[in-house]
């Protein structure tokens, strides 16, 4: 069992000013997940008449992308390729102090405590992160063959869970890894070709409109990504963007 000191960002609402508050986390088992540790702290806060810490979470198995916080300044904490819900307390040791903050990015405004608004990601997808096919009338699944390597590459990029860690980790708060992942996923597949040019142009434009910064190749995004998506997807995005511009897509 461990005892830890937490410094947690508390902010009642978007309008209020936030600040770090300190809490003791006692009798923490190394087998607990990070969020289970916060659950225990919250139970204590409630029974002592205080407000629990608000944080987003849902599946708690690293796939829904709901959770995410800066843990000692690192998006999703110290373990590589791991979302906050899958981070376990055995990563820490007795007596540790842990600073817990929300994602920090202008395009992700704080709603409360550790909860931020990531709807900008949905709006990026709305600009072309799909294949325009209505339900019905699709050809047989085997009519268009897709080589295994190509399908695997598409899947590597498609694994993005949309958690926003890439943005939070980036010194420019760029969403290039997120956007590049979708562009790569769809761009690798034959079904994604007809809209490839207009997709990349529109999605990049939306990133700018949302107030995300530009990519300047720090590479922090791929370090923070719980699905370990490579910055190769940003290369692909830039390539597609230039190619689209050269072809005069609007």
């Amino acid at each position: 069992m461990m005892n830890l000191k937490l410094h947690v960002w508390r902010q009642p609402s978007a309008k209020d000013t936030g600040r770090l508050e300190t809490y003791e986390a006692r009798d923490v088992s190394p087998d607990m997940s990070f969020l289970e540790m916060l659950d225990v702290v919250n139970e204590d806060l409630i029974v002592t008449g205080k407000r629990p810490i608000a944080f987003d979470h849902d599946c708690r198995e690293g796939i829904c992308g709901s959770c995410g916080m800066m843990i000692n300044g690192v998006a999703h904490g110290p373990q590589r390729g791991t979302a906050t819900c899958q981070l376990h307390m055995r990563t820490f040791k007795d007596g540790d102090e842990i600073v817990i903050e929300p994602w920090r990015a202008q395009a992700f405004p704080i709603i409360k405590d550790l909860v931020v608004d990531r709807s900008a990601f949905d709006r990026i997808i709305q600009r072309g992160g799909y294949i325009s096919v209505n339900t019905g009338g699709a050809p047989d699944g085997n009519d268009i063959l897709v080589g295994k390597d190509r399908a695997d590459h598409a899947m590597d990029a498609a694994a993005c869970i949309g958690c926003g860690a890439c943005v939070a980790a980036c010194p420019n708060a760029s969403s290039s890894l997120f956007t590049g992942a979708k562009i790569t996923h769809l761009g690798k597949l034959p079904q994604g070709q007809p809209e490839r040019d207009r997709r990349v142009v529109a999605m990049v434009e939306q990133m700018d409109e949302e107030g995300f910064g530009n990519c300047s190749w720090f590479g922090e995004c791929q370090e923070a990504c719980p699905k370990e998506i490579s910055i190769d997807v940003i290369k692909q995005m830039n390539h597609d963007y230039v190619a689209a511009a050269a072809r005069g897509s609007d």
Partner: protein, 637 residues
């Protein structure tokens, strides 16, 4: 209440085509005059919202998460079934239908299960067209794997993230429609009640989870695609937010609730490690393709697994069910694990676990093939348990995973409330008393992409709608009721947290209405639940206010509904004295401990009707008639 299943006449194989021809259509130009509310944005909800809006209907879609992409469908790992017969191994629509019906222990509606099998092939085509990156063979064709309860290879997959990829396909289709202004999306918005006007479902009342504002939305039809209720057990494989509030409110407004006691306990989950545990993590059933399940032959054998020689291991699934071996259906496999643990042969600190061992598969196929097939699952297991499954066998134990029960629906997926539909896990229709692996994704997408788009038109085209708006007294009084309930919850100011009461409810349900049930235990639960509910309403502590983001208040509302639903589950389990599928009544078993069905007395759907807060619910029965198959005893030996 009258239960009219509206199953079309004619031979099984022709019912759906005939029905599509017989039902009414809405003229394309008229579709934009109709408003449809879709609650939930998982596979069923997102696919329905996207497809209905493609047809021209005006759609509002609601989800409690911050984005529709987060719905719990995303967590499905293993795959989706389809009767493509790409493997040339004897699969067919009829075989998938028969496997589904048999897997469900003959407690599903034949016509619905057949339609599901028929539509399965269209789903794969649709998803491929959307860019879902299914696994492929080197030659470029779609790859398949095997799943429990089937002897053909018909499961399509995208690594161990099939649910994620299918949901992202549906989500992207939905975002496409949102971008066109044809769907209005309401994330972080929770449905708290259904509004009925003139006996029809005409809208919902929701809470904006950021501001706390209670708002009403009117429509011509309401579609619930809000998933299942496994979280009644507190610990389950469901996401923490998954809840029964929408379907429970619908039940209290008059929608019959069918087979609530049919809950699936998934055999391969990571065992509980402590009291703080907040959820149980599933390890995909696909692992049973290559993993062998065993426990020590001797009771209380505490040796490390790799120190136990082969001859002293009991590969009990292979021993008891040689035909299906480790790939038996979920209910049977789960009970077998419970049985060996009850005998004192369970492994791990708690003794509630069995080994899932990959040593033979690794020897046969090599590390790299195993990584290719299950890499992400092995990683997830190691992160949670700190044990390396390439070196030591996994420890697994059954956990609540899926609920076959749900709102009663007819062939059109309409509940007993006119204009209220239920899709996916929220309804009861296709899986009987036990769902086969890789069939939940199939059902969610079949309902959303290919059933509701046709059947809802039949209701709308029949007309007879009066104009409604949210200023009408039905909306205002429902808003008031919700505000009153919220104030009441906040005012109790007791000593217990919502989670502590929820956890206690979970223990009651797991102990007495879990993997095996008996009359005495069920009656004990029936006595305990109202007492716990009473304690909740007098001693719960819900901090904060109603006009802010208040996660404790959200949980309190959901748990208050679980506390009522639990009682209905127990009543249903008491009523069904037979064993069938996942519902195992200890009083009804064969001499060798298998489930003993009683077709003479229980070949029906139990559809429960709400009769008021203080009255016992009314049991209505829909007899199950099987025209195309013979009821047989399930045998996986």
């Amino acid at each position: 209440m009258e239960l009219n299943s509206k199953v079309p006449p004619g031979p099984l194989t022709a019912k759906w085509d005939q029905h599509k021809f017989d039902i009414k259509l809405v003229n394309p130009a008229n579709k934009r005059k109709y408003d449809i509310i879709v609650v939930g944005s998982g596979l069923a909800g997102a696919s329905a919202a996207a497809t209905l809006s493609e047809l021209g209907y005006r759609i509002k879609c609601f989800c409690f998460q911050d984005s529709p992409r987060r719905a719990h469908s995303i967590a499905a790992q293993g795959g989706i079934n389809a009767a493509k017969n790409y493997q040339n191994d004897g699969d067919s629509v009829f075989r998938l239908f028969y496997d589904t019906l048999k897997g469900g222990d003959f407690r599903s509606r034949e016509s619905n299960s057949y339609r599901l099998a028929q539509l399965s092939v269209n789903i794969i085509d649709q998803c491929v067209a959307q860019g879902v990156p299914f696994a492929r063979e080197y030659g470029g064709t779609l790859a398949n794997r095997s799943f429990g309860g089937a002897q053909v290879s018909r499961t399509f997959y995208a690594r161990g993230q099939t649910g994620q990829q299918l949901l992202l396909g549906a989500y992207q289709a939905l975002e496409k429609q949102i971008a066109k202004g044809l769907v209005t999306m309401y994330p972080r918005t929770e449905m708290l009640d259904l509004v009925m006007i003139d006996g029809r479902a005409r809208g919902i009342v929701v809470r904006n989870l950021i501001t706390g504002k209670i708002e009403s939305h009117a429509a011509d039809a309401v579609v619930l695609a809000t998933g299942g209720y496994s979280n009644v057990f507190y610990l389950s494989t469901n996401a923490r937010g998954s809840n029964a509030t929408a379907i429970w409110r619908a039940y209290k407004r008059g929608a019959a609730f069918a087979n609530p006691c049919f809950t699936q306990i998934h055999p391969t989950c990571i065992p509980v490690s402590g009291d703080y545990q907040s959820k149980l993590t599933l390890m995909s059933e696909s692992l049973r393709n290559d993993g062998r399940v065993w426990v020590p032959k001797a009771k209380g054998d505490k040796r490390a697994p790799n120190d136990i020689p082969h001859a002293e291991r009991d590969y009990y699934l292979e021993r008891k069910y040689p035909a299906f071996g480790n790939l038996g259906p979920r209910d049977i496999t789960s009970r077998a694990a419970k049985e060996v643990c009850d005998e004192g042969r369970g492994v791990g600190e708690s003794g509630r676990g069995v080994y899932l061992d990959f040593a033979d598969a690794i020897k046969r196929l090599g590390d790299s093939t195993i990584t290719e097939r299950y890499g992400n699952l092995f990683e997830m297991y190691e992160r949670i348990t700190d044990e390396n499954p390439y070196k030591v066998p996994m420890r697994i134990y059954p956990a609540p995973h899926y609920t076959m029960g749900g709102l009663w629906v007819d062939y059109n997926l309409m509940t007993t409330i006119p204009g209220l539909y239920a899709l996916g896990e929220a309804n009861f229709s296709d899986h009987g008393a036990n769902r086969l692996g890789a069939s939940a994704l199939m059902q969610g997408l079949a309902d959303g992409y290919f059933v509701i788009p046709y059947t809802i038109g039949d209701y709308l085209a029949r007309g007879g709608f009066n104009a409604v708006n949210t200023d009408m007294p039905e909306f205002k009084s429902t808003e008031r009721e919700i505000a009153e309930k919220t104030s009441k919850l906040l005012a109790i100011d007791g000593k217990r947290t919502v989670d502590s009461i929820h956890r206690e409810l979970g223990h009651i349900m797991w102990d007495y209405c879990g993997m095996s049930r008996n009359d005495a235990g069920l009656h004990k639960a029936l006595d305990m639940i109202p007492k716990l509910r009473e304690e909740f309403w007098t001693d719960v502590n819900v901090p904060g206010s109603a006009v802010e983001l208040n996660q404790a208040l959200e949980k309190a509302g959901r748990v208050s509904d679980f506390l009522e639903l639990a009682q209905l589950m127990v009543r249903d389990a008491i009523n069904r004295t037979e064993s069938c599928g996942a519902h195992f009544r200890e009083e009804s078993q064969t001499p060798d401990g298998e489930a003993l069905r009683d077709d003479e007395h229980f070949a029906y759907v139990a559809a429960w009707e709400y009769a008021g807060a203080d009255a016992a619910p009314i049991l209505n029965k829909e007899p199950l008639e099987f025209e195309s198959i013979h009821l047989s005893t399930r045998n996986y030996k």
